[in-house]
């Protein structure tokens, strides 16, 4: 059996990944790589991390058997991995707590982060409040409009939220400004990157901290049913909940893995965020991966109803897993996601985040091709409280 050991020492997942950053940041990336390698081999660090995961975040999260949804769809047995039940309402905090502990370990007292939907910003502001770190969060102007409540939550937690007006005022532009801020303050500040994107070692670190999702899922389903699931679905923007879910299953070839990208207004329009549908490799935010870009290498704007999936790139490991075919990447439109959000709310009494609703919507399609002897796990990456105001508007306009 071959063992999956990505990334290599240069931070490569096949041809993807790497570290394309200004020299000013290279020493910080090397320091981070070293500190991370030492930390995960230090039992005291691991114990502290687990303490916070259990006592503060509320892990492990349930692997909930969605009986009503199973009956409604009439296909496989459906399980929801309830990352929405984490403290702060999404999977993001699995990573921020780990990186905040690393920040302290490196002797830094300040943190910068970017945020799209605001979930990563809130999760970062939360752990900074807990551990006494100063926190600056960059957020696109358009996203601040879409996610007002999360802006207020971050401020309430003591973080400074800086509005980004450049470009489309969304996640990509927030990452640009967070990187510029980091270049300027790198000597005393750690960048808590929120997804499996950016220069090495971020894609690895974020994946590792998020892989608690897949590890728990595996143990839980083996305990309940004695065998692995037939299929696993997760939504993909940068792709951190998906990588965290998929990683522990990569070598279990019998488990089919599906990553769901945002299809926005549809793949036949230029208003979507489905990067892996027509792979187009390039370099953005320090990593080589597939991108939405024009023939001259200028990055194009992504579109999605969901601020958390509104990104013109994707984690380099997803690009690699797409190339090898280990993960199948599909796309769900805004309309399909909104319908799935309503449907899960009404069948299970769970309002999913718009991001996670993309995974639900694809599960509804996939269920039609599966039978009742099979089992399907959906990563419910976050709860929908942050989206209800936006959904209300969308439904009223219909």
């Amino acid at each position: 059996m071959t063992t999956y050991t990505m990334p290599d020492a240069n931070g490569r997942f096949g041809e993807f990944g790497g570290r394309y950053v200004p020299e000013t940041l290279m020493p910080a990336l090397l320091e981070l790589e070293k500190a991370y390698g030492e930390a995960i081999n230090d039992p005291a660090f691991v114990e502290e991390l687990h303490y916070y995961l259990n006592q503060y975040i509320g892990r492990e999260t349930p692997l909930y058997y969605a009986e009503n949804l199973t009956k409604k769809l009439g296909g496989p047995q459906i399980y929801l991995k309830r990352e929405d039940l984490n403290h702060t309402g999404a999977h993001k905090i699995n990573n921020t707590i780990g990186q905040a502990l690393l920040t302290l370990r490196m002797g830094k007292k300040k943190v910068v982060a970017e945020t799209g939907a605001g979930q990563h910003g809130v999760a970062t502001a939360t752990v900074c409040s807990l551990l006494g770190l100063e926190c600056v969060v960059f957020m696109g102007e358009e996203d601040m409009r879409r996610q007002k409540l999360n802006v207020f939550r971050m401020e309430l937690l003591g973080a400074e939220v800086r509005s980004v007006k450049n470009g489309s005022g969304t996640l990509k532009d927030a990452v640009n400004d967070a990187l510029r801020y980091w270049v300027t303050n790198v000597e005393d500040t750690h960048y808590i990157l929120g997804s499996v994107v950016g220069p090495h070692p971020f894609p690895k670190i974020v994946r590792d901290f998020q892989s608690v999702i897949g590890k728990e899922t595996k143990q839980q389903i083996l305990k309940q049913d004695g065998s692995l699931p037939d299929a696993v679905i997760a939504c993909v923007g940068g792709g951190s909940n998906a990588m965290g879910m998929f990683y522990p299953f990569i070598e279990d070839k019998q488990v089919r893995l599906y990553g769901v990208e945002a299809g926005g207004a549809g793949l036949d329009t230029n208003q979507h965020a489905s990067v892996l549908v027509n792979p187009n490799p390039g370099i953005l935010h320090g990593t080589m991966t597939n991108l939405l870009q024009d023939e001259h290498g200028q990055i194009q704007e992504a579109f999605s109803i969901s601020a958390g999936l509104d990104y013109p790139g994707v984690g380099p490991e997803h690009s690699h897993l797409n190339d090898t075919g280990r993960v199948i990447y599909v796309s769900i439109t805004d309309d399909e996601a909104v319908t799935a959000l309503q449907s899960l709310s009404q069948t299970e009494g769970i309002i999913p985040a718009l991001e996670s609703a993309h995974a639900i919507a694809y599960a509804e399609k996939l269920a039609a091709e599966m039978n009742s002897d099979q089992r399907l796990v959906i990563c419910l990456s976050g709860r929908g409280d942050k989206d209800v105001e936006q959904i209300k508007q969308v439904l009223e306009e219909k």
Binding site: E23, I283, G297
Partner: protein, 257 residues
């Protein structure tokens, strides 16, 4: 042509005891039609080389001035291909070395080998790629070496002495010593450690060392140049061209060299 031309040009100016001054312009800011005029003007002013910036949608190493210039340029639909064609069209009229500053993605999309060929045709002597550190430069080094195009490395205030040693010995044409921990843009002052940093870099470097990022006055150019071999001035030049104050550019360069 290429690295040799850059070396000779800088050597000549240094033998005349000149402080080297490399102005940066954003190609396509105001449209590509002004590129020839601006380059010939800067050559006339006494530039040691001219750094021609290629606009990119996501310039993370740049501060607001160059970001905005890049945006204006992209609004004129400037492409890397068009800049290379334009530079090729008047290469016989130039004696000053041309250095292209481009982020890696437009070069990668163009294709590294084709890009290197086009650089030769366009009369480009050197390249600066701000988001291509030592760890990733193998992606372009063979293609550039075969065509004798200089790859100018950047050293940073955060670089260790070992990294500076490697950067200095690999750098071709000159070594670009970044004098701020941050992005490009005008600064009124420098951290005190900049002096010792430049002196250390200068001591380690077999090629001339030029200080850059934040330099905007002839006093700064003279002072920083006294610790090394000269300066690169970007945002200030971009602003002055944008405002049409070309006479001030001439004064700035001539008072700095």
């Amino acid at each position: 042509m290429g690295k040799e031309k850059l070396d000779n040009y800088l050597n000549q100016l240094q033998s005349e005891n000149k402080n080297l001054f490399v102005p940066y312009i954003m190609a396509g800011d105001g449209g590509l039609d002004n590129l020839e005029e601006r380059i010939l003007f800067l050559q006339e002013c006494g530039a040691a080389a001219i750094e021609v910036g290629i606009p990119f949608s996501d310039p993370v190493a740049d501060g607001p001035t160059i970001q905005n210039a890049g945006k204006r340029s992209l609004d004129h639909a400037t492409t890397l291909t068009a800049v290379l064609d334009k530079l090729a069209s008047f290469k016989e009229k130039r004696i000053v070395p041309i250095i292209v500053m481009a982020y890696i993605n437009p070069i990668y999309k163009y294709g590294v080998e084709s890009f290197a060929d086009s650089c030769v045709q366009a009369g480009i002597d050197g390249l600066i790629i701000p988001d291509l550190p030592l760890e990733e430069e193998a992606m372009v080094t063979d293609a550039l070496q075969h065509r004798a195009i200089a790859l100018i490395r950047l050293a940073a205030l955060t670089s260790s002495s070992e990294r500076i040693e490697t950067l200095a010995h690999r750098s071709e044409g000159f070594l670009y010593a970044v004098t701020v921990t941050g992005t490009t843009g005008v600064r009124s002052s420098y951290e005190s450690k900049v002096k010792t940093y430049l002196q250390q870099v200068k001591q380690q470097s077999p090629v001339p060392v030029l200080a850059g990022f934040g330099v905007s006055t002839n006093e700064q150019a003279k002072e920083l140049g006294s610790y090394c071999d000269g300066v690169v001035v970007g945002s200030k030049i971009v602003d002055l061209f944008h405002e049409g104050k070309t006479e001030q550019i001439k004064q700035l360069i001539q008072a700095s060299i």
